[in-house]
Subunit: 141 residues, 2 copies
Amino acid sequence: MATENAWDIVKDLLRMGSALYRNGDRIAGAYELNQQQFIVLSEIVNSGPINQKQLIGEMIIEKSSLSKIVKKLKSLGLVTSTSSPDDGRAILLSATQKGATVWKECMGNFHDWQVDWAGSLTKEEVRQTIKVLERLKELPL
Amino acid sequence: MATENAWDIVKDLLRMGSALYRNGDRIAGAYELNQQQFIVLSEIVNSGPINQKQLIGEMIIEKSSLSKIVKKLKSLGLVTSTSSPDDGRAILLSATQKGATVWKECMGNFHDWQVDWAGSLTKEEVRQTIKVLERLKELPL
DNA sequence: AATTATTAGTTGACACGTCAACTAATTTAG
DNA sequence: CTAAATTAGTTGACGTGTCAACTAATAATT
Protein backbone atom coordinates (compact mmCIF):
# COMPACT_ATOMS: atom_id res chain seq x y z
CA MET A 1 0.00 0.00 0.00
CA ALA A 2 1.22 3.47 -0.85
CA THR A 3 2.37 5.06 2.38
CA GLU A 4 0.90 8.36 1.20
CA ASN A 5 -2.47 6.74 1.76
CA ALA A 6 -1.47 5.42 5.14
CA TRP A 7 -0.27 8.81 6.32
CA ASP A 8 -3.49 10.42 5.12
CA ILE A 9 -5.54 7.78 6.89
CA VAL A 10 -3.54 8.29 10.07
CA LYS A 11 -3.97 12.05 9.91
CA ASP A 12 -7.69 11.71 9.32
CA LEU A 13 -8.08 9.39 12.27
CA LEU A 14 -6.01 11.62 14.53
CA ARG A 15 -8.02 14.65 13.54
CA MET A 16 -11.30 12.88 13.94
CA GLY A 17 -10.28 11.62 17.34
CA SER A 18 -9.37 15.12 18.48
CA ALA A 19 -12.60 16.59 17.18
CA LEU A 20 -14.64 13.92 18.92
CA TYR A 21 -12.79 14.42 22.20
CA ARG A 22 -13.48 18.13 22.05
CA ASN A 23 -17.11 17.51 21.32
CA GLY A 24 -17.33 14.94 24.07
CA ASP A 25 -15.68 17.33 26.52
CA ARG A 26 -18.30 19.93 25.65
CA ILE A 27 -21.25 17.60 26.17
CA ALA A 28 -19.93 15.92 29.31
CA GLY A 29 -18.75 19.29 30.62
CA ALA A 30 -22.28 20.02 31.79
CA TYR A 31 -21.67 17.36 34.43
CA GLU A 32 -18.14 18.48 35.31
CA LEU A 33 -16.68 15.61 33.33
CA ASN A 34 -14.61 15.34 30.18
CA GLN A 35 -15.05 12.74 27.46
CA GLN A 36 -12.54 10.31 28.97
CA GLN A 37 -14.04 10.61 32.43
CA PHE A 38 -17.47 9.99 30.97
CA ILE A 39 -16.21 6.85 29.26
CA VAL A 40 -14.88 5.59 32.59
CA LEU A 41 -18.24 6.30 34.21
CA SER A 42 -19.97 4.49 31.36
CA GLU A 43 -17.84 1.41 31.80
CA ILE A 44 -18.50 1.39 35.53
CA VAL A 45 -22.24 1.90 35.06
CA ASN A 46 -22.44 -0.87 32.46
CA SER A 47 -19.96 -3.36 33.84
CA GLY A 48 -19.67 -2.59 37.55
CA PRO A 49 -18.69 -3.80 40.01
CA ILE A 50 -15.38 -3.73 38.23
CA ASN A 51 -11.77 -3.26 39.30
CA GLN A 52 -9.38 -0.77 37.78
CA LYS A 53 -7.24 -3.37 36.16
CA GLN A 54 -10.20 -4.56 34.11
CA LEU A 55 -11.07 -1.00 33.18
CA ILE A 56 -7.53 -0.45 31.95
CA GLY A 57 -7.95 -3.50 29.76
CA GLU A 58 -10.94 -1.87 28.05
CA MET A 59 -9.38 1.51 27.41
CA ILE A 60 -6.18 3.16 26.39
CA ILE A 61 -5.23 4.86 29.62
CA GLU A 62 -2.43 4.71 32.16
CA LYS A 63 -3.35 3.26 35.53
CA SER A 64 -2.18 6.45 37.15
CA SER A 65 -4.62 8.49 35.07
CA LEU A 66 -7.41 6.09 35.82
CA SER A 67 -6.63 6.34 39.52
CA LYS A 68 -7.06 10.09 39.28
CA ILE A 69 -10.28 9.88 37.27
CA VAL A 70 -11.73 7.40 39.74
CA LYS A 71 -10.77 9.73 42.55
CA LYS A 72 -12.68 12.53 40.85
CA LEU A 73 -15.73 10.40 40.13
CA LYS A 74 -15.80 9.41 43.79
CA SER A 75 -15.49 12.97 44.96
CA LEU A 76 -18.40 13.89 42.68
CA GLY A 77 -20.41 11.13 44.33
CA LEU A 78 -20.85 9.24 41.06
CA VAL A 79 -18.86 6.13 42.03
CA THR A 80 -18.17 4.13 45.17
CA SER A 81 -15.50 1.56 45.90
CA THR A 82 -15.43 -1.59 48.01
CA SER A 83 -12.58 -4.01 48.56
CA SER A 84 -12.49 -7.00 46.28
CA PRO A 85 -13.21 -10.39 47.87
CA ASP A 86 -10.78 -12.00 45.44
CA ASP A 87 -7.74 -9.78 45.84
CA GLY A 88 -6.82 -7.71 48.85
CA ARG A 89 -5.06 -5.14 46.72
CA ALA A 90 -7.96 -4.50 44.38
CA ILE A 91 -11.05 -2.37 44.81
CA LEU A 92 -14.36 -2.81 43.05
CA LEU A 93 -15.97 0.25 41.52
CA SER A 94 -19.70 0.69 41.27
CA ALA A 95 -21.85 3.56 40.15
CA THR A 96 -23.95 5.32 42.75
CA GLN A 97 -27.59 6.16 42.16
CA LYS A 98 -26.43 9.68 41.35
CA GLY A 99 -23.81 8.28 39.00
CA ALA A 100 -26.37 6.22 37.13
CA THR A 101 -28.64 9.24 36.82
CA VAL A 102 -25.88 11.53 35.59
CA TRP A 103 -24.79 8.86 33.13
CA LYS A 104 -28.31 8.41 31.79
CA GLU A 105 -28.84 12.14 31.30
CA CYS A 106 -25.47 12.73 29.76
CA MET A 107 -25.87 9.71 27.52
CA GLY A 108 -29.16 11.16 26.38
CA ASN A 109 -27.32 14.33 25.40
CA PHE A 110 -24.78 12.27 23.50
CA HIS A 111 -27.60 10.49 21.69
CA ASP A 112 -29.19 13.80 20.76
CA TRP A 113 -25.89 14.97 19.36
CA GLN A 114 -25.38 11.70 17.53
CA VAL A 115 -28.70 12.15 15.75
CA ASP A 116 -27.38 15.42 14.34
CA TRP A 117 -23.90 14.15 13.66
CA ALA A 118 -24.53 10.85 11.97
CA GLY A 119 -28.21 10.94 11.20
CA SER A 120 -27.50 11.63 7.55
CA LEU A 121 -25.59 8.37 7.09
CA THR A 122 -27.47 5.75 5.09
CA LYS A 123 -27.77 2.24 6.44
CA GLU A 124 -25.21 1.12 3.88
CA GLU A 125 -22.81 3.83 4.90
CA VAL A 126 -23.16 2.80 8.54
CA ARG A 127 -22.56 -0.78 7.58
CA GLN A 128 -19.44 0.16 5.65
CA THR A 129 -18.17 2.38 8.44
CA ILE A 130 -18.54 -0.36 11.00
CA LYS A 131 -16.89 -2.84 8.67
CA VAL A 132 -13.92 -0.55 8.02
CA LEU A 133 -13.49 0.18 11.70
CA GLU A 134 -13.61 -3.49 12.58
CA ARG A 135 -10.85 -4.08 10.06
CA LEU A 136 -8.77 -1.19 11.38
CA LYS A 137 -9.11 -2.54 14.89
CA GLU A 138 -7.44 -5.74 13.72
CA LEU A 139 -4.31 -3.92 12.61
CA PRO A 140 -1.29 -4.22 14.92
CA LEU A 141 -1.18 -1.24 17.22
CA MET B 1 -29.53 5.18 12.54
CA ALA B 2 -29.46 3.33 15.83
CA THR B 3 -27.55 5.43 18.30
CA GLU B 4 -25.95 2.27 19.66
CA ASN B 5 -24.06 2.14 16.39
CA ALA B 6 -23.14 5.80 16.59
CA TRP B 7 -21.81 5.45 20.11
CA ASP B 8 -19.78 2.40 19.09
CA ILE B 9 -18.39 4.26 16.10
CA VAL B 10 -17.50 7.22 18.31
CA LYS B 11 -15.78 5.01 20.85
CA ASP B 12 -13.83 3.21 18.14
CA LEU B 13 -12.67 6.48 16.63
CA LEU B 14 -11.71 7.90 20.02
CA ARG B 15 -9.78 4.79 20.88
CA MET B 16 -8.06 4.64 17.53
CA GLY B 17 -7.11 8.28 17.80
CA SER B 18 -5.57 7.73 21.21
CA ALA B 19 -3.65 4.67 20.08
CA LEU B 20 -2.31 6.53 17.05
CA TYR B 21 -1.26 9.51 19.15
CA ARG B 22 0.61 7.23 21.51
CA ASN B 23 2.29 5.49 18.65
CA GLY B 24 3.15 8.79 17.03
CA ASP B 25 4.56 10.10 20.28
CA ARG B 26 6.78 7.05 20.45
CA ILE B 27 8.12 7.42 16.91
CA ALA B 28 8.56 11.19 17.02
CA GLY B 29 9.98 10.95 20.52
CA ALA B 30 13.33 10.02 19.07
CA TYR B 31 13.53 13.61 17.87
CA GLU B 32 12.20 15.16 21.10
CA LEU B 33 8.82 15.72 19.49
CA ASN B 34 5.36 14.34 20.06
CA GLN B 35 2.86 13.43 17.36
CA GLN B 36 1.18 16.84 17.37
CA GLN B 37 4.50 18.68 17.22
CA PHE B 38 5.57 16.50 14.33
CA ILE B 39 2.38 17.31 12.46
CA VAL B 40 3.09 21.01 12.91
CA LEU B 41 6.63 20.52 11.61
CA SER B 42 5.22 18.56 8.65
CA GLU B 43 2.86 21.35 7.74
CA ILE B 44 5.64 23.91 7.93
CA VAL B 45 8.02 21.76 5.88
CA ASN B 46 5.37 21.11 3.23
CA SER B 47 3.60 24.46 3.12
CA GLY B 48 6.08 26.97 4.50
CA PRO B 49 6.48 29.86 4.65
CA ILE B 50 3.19 29.84 6.50
CA ASN B 51 1.70 31.88 9.30
CA GLN B 52 0.18 30.46 12.43
CA LYS B 53 -3.32 31.42 11.54
CA GLN B 54 -3.16 29.26 8.44
CA LEU B 55 -1.71 26.39 10.42
CA ILE B 56 -4.59 26.61 12.87
CA GLY B 57 -6.95 26.34 9.92
CA GLU B 58 -5.39 23.00 8.98
CA MET B 59 -5.44 21.43 12.41
CA ILE B 60 -7.54 21.12 15.51
CA ILE B 61 -5.48 23.08 17.96
CA GLU B 62 -5.75 26.23 20.03
CA LYS B 63 -3.60 29.13 18.90
CA SER B 64 -2.07 29.21 22.35
CA SER B 65 -0.92 25.60 22.01
CA LEU B 66 0.40 26.26 18.56
CA SER B 67 2.33 29.24 19.86
CA LYS B 68 3.97 26.98 22.40
CA ILE B 69 4.74 24.28 19.86
CA VAL B 70 6.26 26.81 17.49
CA LYS B 71 8.34 28.15 20.34
CA LYS B 72 9.67 24.65 20.97
CA LEU B 73 10.37 23.93 17.31
CA LYS B 74 12.32 27.18 17.12
CA SER B 75 14.31 26.39 20.22
CA LEU B 76 15.16 22.99 18.69
CA GLY B 77 16.39 24.82 15.63
CA LEU B 78 13.86 23.14 13.35
CA VAL B 79 11.90 26.26 12.42
CA THR B 80 12.61 29.93 11.86
CA SER B 81 10.28 32.89 11.72
CA THR B 82 10.28 36.12 9.73
CA SER B 83 7.77 38.94 9.77
CA SER B 84 5.06 38.80 7.18
CA PRO B 85 5.15 41.46 4.46
CA ASP B 86 1.36 41.43 4.36
CA ASP B 87 0.52 41.81 8.00
CA GLY B 88 2.67 43.40 10.66
CA ARG B 89 1.20 41.19 13.36
CA ALA B 90 1.88 37.93 11.63
CA ILE B 91 5.05 35.90 11.37
CA LEU B 92 5.94 33.44 8.66
CA LEU B 93 7.29 30.06 9.70
CA SER B 94 9.77 28.11 7.63
CA ALA B 95 11.65 24.93 8.25
CA THR B 96 15.40 25.12 8.70
CA GLN B 97 17.76 22.74 6.94
CA LYS B 98 17.91 20.81 10.21
CA GLY B 99 14.14 20.84 10.39
CA ALA B 100 13.80 19.41 6.91
CA THR B 101 16.33 16.71 7.73
CA VAL B 102 14.66 15.74 10.98
CA TRP B 103 11.30 15.69 9.22
CA LYS B 104 12.60 13.45 6.47
CA GLU B 105 14.17 10.96 8.86
CA CYS B 106 11.20 10.89 11.18
CA MET B 107 8.81 10.57 8.25
CA GLY B 108 10.85 7.61 7.10
CA ASN B 109 10.33 6.01 10.49
CA PHE B 110 6.61 6.66 10.21
CA HIS B 111 6.60 5.03 6.76
CA ASP B 112 8.40 1.98 8.14
CA TRP B 113 5.82 1.69 10.87
CA GLN B 114 3.00 2.18 8.38
CA VAL B 115 4.22 -0.76 6.34
CA ASP B 116 3.82 -2.94 9.42
CA TRP B 117 0.56 -1.38 10.51
CA ALA B 118 -1.42 -1.24 7.33
CA GLY B 119 0.55 -3.37 4.95
CA SER B 120 -1.92 -6.21 5.29
CA LEU B 121 -4.81 -4.13 3.95
CA THR B 122 -5.88 -5.06 0.45
CA LYS B 123 -6.26 -2.35 -2.18
CA GLU B 124 -10.03 -2.66 -1.84
CA GLU B 125 -9.84 -2.30 1.91
CA VAL B 126 -7.75 0.83 1.52
CA ARG B 127 -10.22 2.19 -0.98
CA GLN B 128 -13.11 1.51 1.37
CA THR B 129 -11.28 3.01 4.33
CA ILE B 130 -10.56 6.20 2.46
CA LYS B 131 -14.13 6.37 1.21
CA VAL B 132 -15.55 5.92 4.70
CA LEU B 133 -13.22 8.51 6.17
CA GLU B 134 -14.10 11.00 3.43
CA ARG B 135 -17.74 10.53 4.30
CA LEU B 136 -17.11 10.89 8.04
CA LYS B 137 -15.21 14.10 7.40
CA GLU B 138 -18.37 15.53 5.84
CA LEU B 139 -20.38 15.04 9.01
CA PRO B 140 -21.06 18.17 11.09
CA LEU B 141 -18.49 18.43 13.83
C1' DA C 1 -9.27 61.29 9.99
C1' DA C 2 -10.43 59.48 14.47
C1' DT C 3 -12.56 55.97 17.03
C1' DT C 4 -14.12 51.44 17.78
C1' DA C 5 -13.92 46.63 16.93
C1' DT C 6 -11.40 42.76 15.58
C1' DT C 7 -7.42 39.96 15.20
C1' DA C 8 -2.28 37.56 15.24
C1' DG C 9 0.24 35.91 18.48
C1' DT C 10 1.95 35.55 23.54
C1' DT C 11 1.67 34.34 28.34
C1' DG C 12 -0.07 32.51 32.69
C1' DA C 13 -3.32 29.62 35.49
C1' DC C 14 -4.99 25.28 35.65
C1' DA C 15 -6.64 20.56 34.48
C1' DC C 16 -5.01 16.34 32.99
C1' DG C 17 -2.28 12.56 30.97
C1' DT C 18 2.36 10.10 31.18
C1' DC C 19 6.25 8.30 33.59
C1' DA C 20 8.62 7.02 37.66
C1' DA C 21 8.67 5.80 42.31
C1' DC C 22 6.33 3.84 45.98
C1' DT C 23 3.45 0.70 49.35
C1' DA C 24 1.24 -3.33 50.35
C1' DA C 25 -0.79 -7.64 48.64
C1' DT C 26 -0.21 -11.64 45.83
C1' DT C 27 2.30 -14.93 43.09
C1' DT C 28 6.27 -17.46 41.90
C1' DA C 29 10.56 -19.76 42.73
C1' DG C 30 13.72 -22.29 45.56
C1' DC D 1 7.97 -22.38 54.31
C1' DT D 2 10.76 -18.35 53.03
C1' DA D 3 12.50 -15.12 49.87
C1' DA D 4 12.20 -12.92 45.56
C1' DA D 5 9.47 -11.23 41.93
C1' DT D 6 5.34 -9.34 40.36
C1' DT D 7 1.28 -6.61 40.68
C1' DA D 8 -3.09 -3.27 42.12
C1' DG D 9 -3.42 1.05 43.01
C1' DT D 10 -1.51 5.78 44.69
C1' DT D 11 1.18 9.96 44.42
C1' DG D 12 4.34 13.47 42.67
C1' DA D 13 7.06 15.73 38.89
C1' DC D 14 6.51 17.38 34.57
C1' DG D 15 4.98 18.26 29.76
C1' DT D 16 1.12 19.86 27.26
C1' DG D 17 -3.47 21.41 25.85
C1' DT D 18 -7.41 24.73 26.98
C1' DC D 19 -9.17 29.08 28.46
C1' DA D 20 -8.69 33.78 29.67
C1' DA D 21 -6.27 37.93 29.55
C1' DC D 22 -3.21 40.74 27.21
C1' DT D 23 -0.46 43.68 23.58
C1' DA D 24 0.01 45.61 19.30
C1' DA D 25 -1.43 45.70 14.51
C1' DT D 26 -5.17 45.85 11.31
C1' DA D 27 -9.92 46.42 9.71
C1' DA D 28 -14.35 48.48 10.10
C1' DT D 29 -17.26 52.21 11.43
C1' DT D 30 -18.45 56.97 12.12
